[in-house]
Every structure is written in structure tokens, then in C-alpha cells.
Chain length 334, copies 2
């Protein structure tokens, strides 16, 4: 049986992570095609011991392709994903272009793999901070409905791509040498600094990263009743996001029950060693598939054990992007 897979945006940070994860998981493709902008087209690359030439992404790239993993930005997805779908290729799109369309499944396999079919040839991968935040909330919500969720994020720079990761490293050096800083990937210096997320800000003052968290969670949980509010912040970390999450439940939710539920849930690793002050950290989450969950505490600001605080860390390029998309593609490959 043949399974032809294309990667659109292969030169980007998520594109490169696709390669690592497809190889690690021994993805059942029989043939690969690597696509990028005309700037990168013609360049050679090696994947699983084989040489490939990067091809320019065009509408015709998908004539003989079964599955395409897209991570080349929203405008590229808008232009080429429907063209791919029209040619019978199913796109797993990492951009925000189609996420909120009614007939596009928005999928975290641990939560709603049952929504992958039917689809019109496009399946959306949720935003990184949404995935990392709600993978651990889902098993709790199933056991005891979440009424309200308050999130503050500590987001790595990798969400803004390679350039941002390189900028953090070089800027830290410049800052230590007392040089003037000239931020390019971000508006503000990221070295030894923290700043509000660099996405567009709406009339209500929330940036798009924060509104994604609300709307995507509602769609993925298929439950618009959960009250959600978020504050999304960048920190000088390379590639794993952290989130401080406060949850209010419909019924009492003792810490022990949260721990039990998380122990049984897929994609989660509990890191909650109070004795040794060892909790989720981006340096530990980096390169890992699981979301690390810890600082599991009863929130005594709510009565009768209705509140819980947790702190989570997850690799932005893996579960926050490439891994989740490959997991969706594994369902499509079945």
C-alpha cells in the first residue's frame, strides 16, 4: 500500500521538527516530498538516510499526495491547503487559517480524535499554547466539568520560529557585553526580559494568542460553557512553554483525585516532587512528547475544594505543533 506524504514549510522550525518526529515514530509513509518557498527550492536535504531536493510549493505539488503536513504560515495555508484538498490530499494544517471553520476538525488526538472524520480535506492543528494548556485539563473536565479556567503563560520564543531562537541567543550575548540591542524577531528585547505576546491585539485588549485559547478550547472540548480567560507572555526560553492554570470545577475536586486522573491520562507526565522542589520546567520539557504537570494544589480561594492550581510545561515545537500534527496524520494513515 502506498502512502505519499508532503511537508510544506520543511525549512522552518516546525518543519524540521516534523522530520525528527516522522523518523522517530517510523511514520508509515512510502514516499516523501519536501516543499518550501522558491527561496529554498532546489536545495538538497537528507531524511532517513535518503537525499531529497526541496521543491517549490505550488498548487500542483499535491497531485499524487495523500497527506500533507503544513507549517508555512497562515497565508500560505489559505492559498495552498484548499488546492491540495481539491486534489484529494488531506492537509493537517498547523496555521490558524482554518481552525475556527465549522467544517474543519480542530484536533488534539488525546481529546477529540473522533472528530477527524468527516473532513473536507483539511484538519487543523490547534495553537501551541492551547494544546499544552488543555491536554491535562481534558481528563479533569471529563470527570468533573470545568466551570472556569484562568491561564497565565510563560511562552518560549520558538513560536516565532528559528530566527527568534537565534535572536534570543545572540541578544543574550550582546546584552552581557553591554551592546545596544536591535530586536528583529520581536518588537521588544527578549534577553533577560519578559513581554506580552507579540500577536495582534483586539478591541477588548486581548491578543490573538489569548483569544485562540478561549475559542479553540471551546471547539476542541465541544463545550462553549467553560469560562476562560488568559494572559499570554513571552519569556527568554528557547522551545518549551509553561502555563500557570487555575481551574474551578462544578463539583469538589480534591488534589488526590486530580493526581489519579492525570496518572491515567495519555500524553501526560506528573512532575510534582514537593520534597525536592522539582516541578515542570521548560529545560526538562524540551525534546519530550509528554506535557509535564505539577504544582498540583487545592486552590483555597474557592470553597469546598472547587478549585485547583497546576503548572505545566510542554515542548512548543513537539506537542505544541509537529507532534500533534503527526499524531493526527497517524489517524489518517490508518
Amino acid at each position: 500500500m502506498s502512502l505519499k506524504v508532503a511537508i510544506a514549510g520543511v525549512t522552518g522550525a516546525v518543519g524540521q521538527e516534523f522530520l525528527t518526529i516522522l523518523e522517530e515514530r517510523n511514520f508509515p509513509a512510502t514516499e516523501y516530498k519536501f516543499l518550501a518557498s522558491s527561496r529554498s527550492a532546489g536545495k538538497q536535504m537528507t531524511f532517513m538516510g535518503q537525499e531529497y531536493i526541496i521543491e517549490e510549493l505550488t498548487e500542483d505539488s499535491f497531485e499524487d499526495t495523500d497527506i500533507a503536513l503544513f507549517s508555512a504560515g497562515g497565508s500560505i495555508s489559505k492559498k495552498f491547503a484548499p488546492a491540495a484538498a481539491k486534489r484529494g490530499c488531506t492537509v493537517v494544517d498547523n496555521s490558524s487559517a482554518f481552525r475556527m471553520e465549522d467544517d474543519v476538525p480542530l484536533v488534539i488526538p488525546e481529546i477529540n480524535s473522533d472528530t477527524i472524520y468527516p473532513n473536507k480535506g483539511i484538519i487543523a492543528n490547534p495553537n501551541c499554547s492551547t494544546i499544552i494548556g488543555i491536554v491535562p485539563v481534558w481528563p479533569l473536565h471529563q470527570a468533573n466539568p470545568v466551570r472556569r479556567m484562568i491561564v497565565s503563560t510563560y511562552q518560549a520564543v520558538s513560536g516565532a520560529g528559528w530566527q527568534a531562537m537565534e535572536e534570543l541567543k545572540s541578544q543574550v550575548r550582546d546584552a552581557l557585553e553591554g551592546k545596544e540591542l536591535h530586536p528583529q524577531a520581536f518588537q521588544h528585547p527578549c534577553a533577560f526580559n519578559v513581554f506580552s505576546h507579540d500577536s495582534e491585539i483586539g478591541e477588548d485588549g486581548y491578543n490573538v494568542e489569548e483569544t485562540k485559547l478561549v475559542h479553540e478550547t471551546h471547539k476542541i472540548f465541544n463545550d462553549n460553557s467553560i469560562a476562560i480567560t488568559g494572559t499570554c507572555i513571552r519569556v527568554p526560553v528557547l522551545r518549551a512553554h509553561c502555563e500557570s492554570i487555575n481551574l474551578e470545577f462544578e463539583n469538589p475536586m480534591p488534589v488526590e483525585r486530580v493526581v489519579d486522573l492525570l496518572h491515567q491520562a495519555p500524553g501526560i507526565q506528573i512532575v510534582d516532587d514537593r520534597e525536592n522542589n522539582y516541578f515542570p520546567m521548560p529545560l526538562d520539557a524540551m525534546g519530550q512528547n509528554d506535557i509535564l504537570v505539577g504544582r498540583i494544589r487545592q486552590d483555597e480561594s474557592l470553597s469546598d475544594q472547587h478549585g485547583i492550581n497546576i503548572f505545566v510545561a510542554g515542548d512548543q515545537l513537539r506537542k505544541g505543533a509537529a507532534l500533534n500534527a503527526v499524531q493526527i496524520a497517524e489517524y489518517l494513515a490508518k
Copy 2:
């Protein structure tokens, strides 16, 4: 009129900041005495153009002293602050040693300067993350009682002293060169990392930094009814803390009213430029006396405008420590 002032712990990060602030504010002392451990005693230092010899801190250091600013750690304060008080010297203590004692005022001058008298010769300076978080909450609470406060912090390493600031800088260099990291100031690497606060953890899973936030706020606001929960996290930033604060009010609290109240309040600077995505950042807060407040948004997860989100930044060594203590000393000097 003579006013003799002693600084205990003058060689520390807060001790050095005392000097900067006393000079900046032209503090009305007629004589200074600089105290430290026997290790630093005998060393020369310059302050406001005058040479001083650092003296060893002993019980007798305070015989002829009117005001002492202490920042030498809790055990030193426990030993020497009562000795100073017994000799008629009033101590402003930056440690946590006396903060929760009933007969010790715990003071943020913008909030409760009226509690400075009576005192038994010891006045406590609150914890840095408490001060930075609640200076902007107070004017709101006075206008419309805060019912619940949920805080996630982004704390600089300076709270752990000079050594921690130097460690962050050298560790960032080591990390970039791929060297193995050997954390000393903290248990975990701080370069390109984020970790749960390095204070002791209680049976409920909250670290001492988080419980301070609850108990100190209750004492300073003189209101135990506010439900408070916090998650305290260190980020790779040198000397200014940020905090993401979610507030629930007794009555509706529109954003415009919050902005008005904060505009009129002392010690606060609103930095909330949505158009240019310019909000409070530790790099901007560094060296400033004011707490920067921004990301002022209605929290739509609560009905009828009962909720507000804000994001604040404040210099941990200034308003979080030395400045607040000097402000208290200014009341004592009157």
C-alpha cells in the same frame, strides 16, 4: 537635629540599593554607620563622597542609632533587631522574621502608613512579590472590594541576591557554549529556564513565597476576607518581577474605572499601549520606583464586569525591597 542611621547587610544586593536610594532621595540622616558580617568588616566603602569603614554587626552597633535598615537575612534580623530596638533604635526590617507578629507593623507606605505608629521598635518591610503585586490592587480594592485574587508571578533572580544575578549571567554564557551547568544559587539552572520558586514548600503544596502573598496581603489590607491564591515562578530576568493578576470584585468594575483609579494612585505608572503592543516589561521597570501596570482587560469569564486582568512589573530591589524600606524610614524621620 541629629538623625543617625545604620544599614545592616550593606554589602548585599538590597544593602547596596539602600545606598543608591538614600542618596537619590537625599535622606535627612546626619550620620551613617554601615554594618555587615565579620567577613566584610574593616573594608572601606564610599558613600556620597565620604569614606566609611564597614563595621561588624553586633548588639552594641545600635547604642547611638536612631533608625536601622536591615537586610541581612531572617536569622540576623531575629538576633539583632530586638537588640537594636531595646537600645531605642527603630528597625525597618526587610526579612520575613517579624512580618506576621501582631505588634509589628507591616507597611507599604502607599497603603497603610497609618500603621507605622505605635510600634515596638521594629517595622517590617513586606516581601517583594507582595509589594509589587498589591500596590496597584489597593486603590481598586478601596473603590470596590476585591473578593478574589489569583496571581502568577514571573520573578527575577535578584531576590536570591548578587550571587544569583551573577549566576544567571555566567550560566547563560555557559549554556550558549554547551558547557555543563552547575547551579549554585538555585537548585535548578536559571539560564533559558523557568522554575517554581526556590522557597520552602508546605504541606498544602504552596511554597513560602505563595503563602506570604496571602498572609501579608491580608495584614497590609487589614482584611482577611479576600480570597487569594498564587503560583510563584522564577524566570531568567535580572532584577524586576512581573505578575499576572486576576481580580474579582464585589461590584461591577469596568476597565475605564480601573484606569481612572490607577491614574490617581501613588507609586503607579500605567503602561498600556495596545496600539503599539507596549506593556509592562522587567527591562523597563528596572531602576524605576513606580510599579508599571498594563494589560488592563475586562475578564469576560466573570459576568457583569466583575473581573479584571492586569499585568504588572516592578523593580524587585527598589519598590520590592530597598525603596519601600526607605519610604518607611522617611516617615520615621519626620
